[in-house]
């Protein structure tokens, strides 16, 4: 009881204190720092309590508010508190003097409260209550940052409220089917449910979570929503907020419904529920990733990738094998680490230069080497190249898909990875490489409080890449606790009958290769550093007034190839739905003409219709 209630009460206390001290940024800042540090500590020491169940003696609809700590919860709780702490450390300086920062920490606490509640809840109703709190605070988070943020947050809200309503239907439908909200009870009675009903119920839940985790056809709220708000919020949102949807999917697919039940839901032949889900996941990987290629705003580019990376997690889960599920879960952690790292680097650049427009930046590696390194680690992770963590989880997923016999899902993953490599190179190139514009000559590296989270995350990204076993231990336990086969892991990789992975060897050989190259490099004469204007330009003279850079429309040729296939179906559909709603409401509004004679006709009509219908009924 103590730790769970302490976690939740502390976050609430944080909300309260921040509301009280909304005028003093300094007080807010240190209160938040301290409380989040305690929260992180508490969630770490929660480990011995795994398996225990707590109830707050308070009834909702005949139901206590129940919490339970499982390995899955523990995993997510660690991620939430950890990343929030890093975000707060980074924000200490970042949000200083920004407009609308008075409620910065308040909404952060509220959001954390909602997320912790969602992941710790042990029954559907508690889950739903905290889910709503979470959605509204996400909305509040997205709304900070001016008029565009308001608009995009509104779009999110439309999706989120739809998701909550669908979830509500699911929650109550399962209550009326099973007579209980409790996950364990529902899981126990699941076998007695007829297959169509199971499918229907599962579809309801998965749809709702898919909206929250931005799966392909319902992803369009995310990029704008995440990129228009404060950049630190972009990090926080893409790092962990979206992944609560993934938590829901993991919980319901494996915890509540159970993989055996899900596997029974066949459609035609080999195509079953998981496969259909996998197709959506595959589209989530491909479409947003290639949309990211077109972006020229760093935040928006990463936001699109945030959508795309969700597809990897889902496709891992959809593969249904121990390796794939482990990969999906591991990817949540990995993605959180590197995407937050990337966005922190972007935020550092924004902090110093005031822009995230990729067409206006360049050459900052000379001025901000630490941010560059952070971004480099991040993008290597995001692109899924060894030796960073992103590779390991992606490797699990590819392998699970190939050996599970899903070649087209596997190729979707590969296509997504290639698209990612392309666009992250554009990101790092346009920000840090190329020519340094003259106006950024005085730019400095960011201070310690902003560097510290980046260094920590760099260590995490590299550490988990070389020693995936650090996280795999917990993930294997999660798998066992969900009744799945555990993945055969070792400290630095996977032990399997055919085709193992040993990241330590890979990294060591890589470092050895670099060492050998370094020796060869030293054999030559000393190198000499030259400035950026000492450059080949076909004999032309370069100076600061000559823009000699290539970053506008970086992948024009590929865009030419893709353009014919980019029909923007989703945008058009959404606009269609919006205009249909508008039209319907306009017509319905016109029912109320304002003229009393039509109203009289309505009454008479109603009278007649009532007679006709009631005559049949009685």
């Amino acid at each position: 009881m103590s730790i769970v209630s302490n976690l939740l009460l502390l976050t609430l206390l944080g909300v309260l204190l921040n509301v009280i001290f909304y005028k003093s940024e300094v007080v807010q800042k240190y209160i938040s720092l301290i409380i989040f540090a305690i929260l992180t500590y508490l969630s770490i020491v929660m480990y011995p309590l795994v398996g225990s169940h707590f109830e707050i003696p308070f009834l909702i609809a005949g139901q206590h508010i129940g919490f339970t700590i499982t390995y899955l919860n523990y995993y997510f709780a660690l991620m939430i508190t950890g990343i929030t702490l890093l975000t707060v450390i980074f924000s200490l300086k970042f949000i200083k003097g920004k407009e609308g920062n008075t409620h910065y920490y308040t909404v952060l606490f509220l959001k954390t409260f909602g997320m912790l509640g969602v992941i710790l809840s042990s029954d559907l109703l508690t889950f739903f209550v905290f889910w709503e709190i979470m959605s509204w605070s996400t909305f509040a988070l997205m709304s900070t940052g001016g008029e565009p943020a308001h608009r995009s947050a509104f779009k999110y809200f439309v999706f989120a409220v739809t998701a909550s309503m669908i979830l509500m239907a699911g929650v109550i439908l399962s209550y009326s089917l099973f007579g209980s909200f409790d996950f364990a009870v529902i899981h126990g009675k699941m076998a007695s449910l007829s297959l169509p009903m199971t499918g229907f119920l599962l579809t309801i839940f998965i749809t709702s979570f898919s909206i929250e985790s931005a799966v392909f056809p319902v992803h369009s709220w995310l990029p704008d929503g995440y990129s228009n708000t404060f950049t630190t919020f972009t990090a926080y949102l893409s790092g962990i907020s979206t992944r609560i949807g993934i938590y829901g999917i993991i919980l319901f697919l494996f915890g509540v419904f159970g993989i055996q039940t899900v596997d029974k839901l066949g459609i035609i032949g080999k195509i079953n529920f998981r496969y259909v889900f996998g197709i959506f996941a595959a589209l989530t990987m491909i479409v947003p990733t290639f949309t990211a290629l077109y972006q020229h705003d760093a935040k928006k580019l990463i936001a699109w990738h945030s959508v795309g990376q969700g597809g990897y997690m889902l496709i891992g889960l959809a593969s249904g094998s121990a390796l794939g599920i482990a990969g999906g879960m591991f990817h949540v952690l990995n993605h959180m680490a590197y995407v937050v790292l990337i966005v922190f680097a972007i935020a550092s650049v924004e902090y110093r230069t005031g822009t995230t427009n990729l067409n206006k930046l360049g050459g900052l590696i000379k001025k901000m080497p630490v941010s560059y390194l952070a971004l480099l680690f991040g993008i290597i992770g995001l692109a899924g190249l060894p030796p960073m963590n992103g590779f390991v989880s992606k490797w699990f997923i590819y392998r699970a898909l190939i050996l599970g016999g899903y070649p087209f899902l596997a190729i979707a993953a590969v296509i997504g990875t290639l698209g990612t490599i392309l666009s992250v190179y554009k990101l790092i190139h346009n920000m840090f490489l190329g020519q340094l514009p003259e106006r950024y000559n005085d730019v400095k590296e960011v201070g310690f409080s902003m560097q510290l989270p980046m260094w920590i995350l760099m260590i995490v990204v590299l550490g988990l890449g070389v020693y995936p076993g650090l996280a795999m231990g917990l993930i294997a336990k999660i798998q066992v606790s969900l009744g799945l086969a555990a993945v055969p892991y070792a400290l630095h990789g996977i032990k399997a009958a055919s085709g193992q992975l040993d990241m330590l060897v890979v990294s060591a050989v890589f470092i050895g290769g670099i060492a050998v190259t370094w020796i060869i490099y030293l054999l030559g004469n000393r190198r000499k550093h030259v400035g950026q204007y000492n450059n080949y330009a076909g004999g032309n003279f370069l100076n600061k007034s000559v823009a000699y850079n290539f970053n506008y429309e970086f992948y024009a040729a590929l865009e030419h190839v893709i353009d014919p296939y980019r029909k923007k179906i989703i945008e058009r559909t959404e606009r269609g739905i919006a205009s249909v709603t508008d039209a319907v409401s306009e017509y319905i509004r016109r029912i109320y003409t304002g003229m009393i004679n039509t109203y009289g006709i309505y009454v008479v009509t109603a009278f007649v219709v009532t007679i006709i219908i009631l005559k049949e009924l009685i």
Partner: protein, 191 residues
């Protein structure tokens, strides 16, 4: 000169023997002489036999082949390109124009002698020289490298004041190439 040759170590001799077989050429084609280069490269004369390949950027090239006359405007580019090349580097003056102005000797706008501005390793006389002459000149260059005599590039560092003065006189002021010749001189242990 002779002293330096005798001072060469065994390593330097081996190095010269190997390096002479690979000469990459940046051709600066401002004049009519460039028309002679395609036959030099293709089947009939095939300069790749000697490991001579055309290259496109000064960073990669060993030979700067100046074909034809140079005006003030193009000379600036030549100087810039020359400074961007990586030592050791060899300038080959192609045709009479680079030697004495050739048929443009009394033009008000062309440079009469290339070696007043950058050190030239070999000249190819003629208006215009045939591919045979080009190949012969390259062979001469190869032999010079082998003997350790192709050191004209050091002159640019040794006598930088001379070249700079001539350049500034012609250009009516300094040009900014972002190359610190003085510092480079120290890099090569010259002065």
């Amino acid at each position: 000169m002779d002293e330096k040759i005798t001072q060469r170590s065994v390593w330097e001799k081996i190095s010269a023997k190997l390096s002479k077989r690979s000469l990459w050429m940046l051709h600066y084609c401002t004049g009519c002489g460039a028309i002679e280069l395609p036959p030099t490269m293709t089947a009939r004369f095939d300069m790749e036999r000697f490991g001579i390949n055309p290259m496109v950027t000064p960073r990669q090239a060993d030979i700067l082949l100046i074909t034809g006359y140079l005006s003030v405007k193009t000379l600036k580019r030549v100087v810039l390109t020359y400074e961007q090349m990586q030592a050791p580097k060899y300038v080959v003056g192609f045709g009479s124009c680079t030697i004495n102005g050739g048929m443009y000797w009394n033009s008000y706008s062309t440079m009469k002698s290339l070696d007043r501005y950058i050190p030239v390793e070999t000249y190819i006389a003629g208006c215009m020289p045939r591919p045979e002459a080009i190949i012969a000149s390259f062979n001469e260059l190869i032999n010079k490298i082998d003997r350790g005599e192709a050191n004209s590039w050091k002159d640019y560092y040794n006598n930088y004041n001379f070249y700079k003065e001539n350049q500034e006189h012609t250009f009516e002021g300094p040009i900014e190439t972002y190359n610190d010749i003085k510092a480079d001189a120290a890099l090569f242990n010259i002065k």
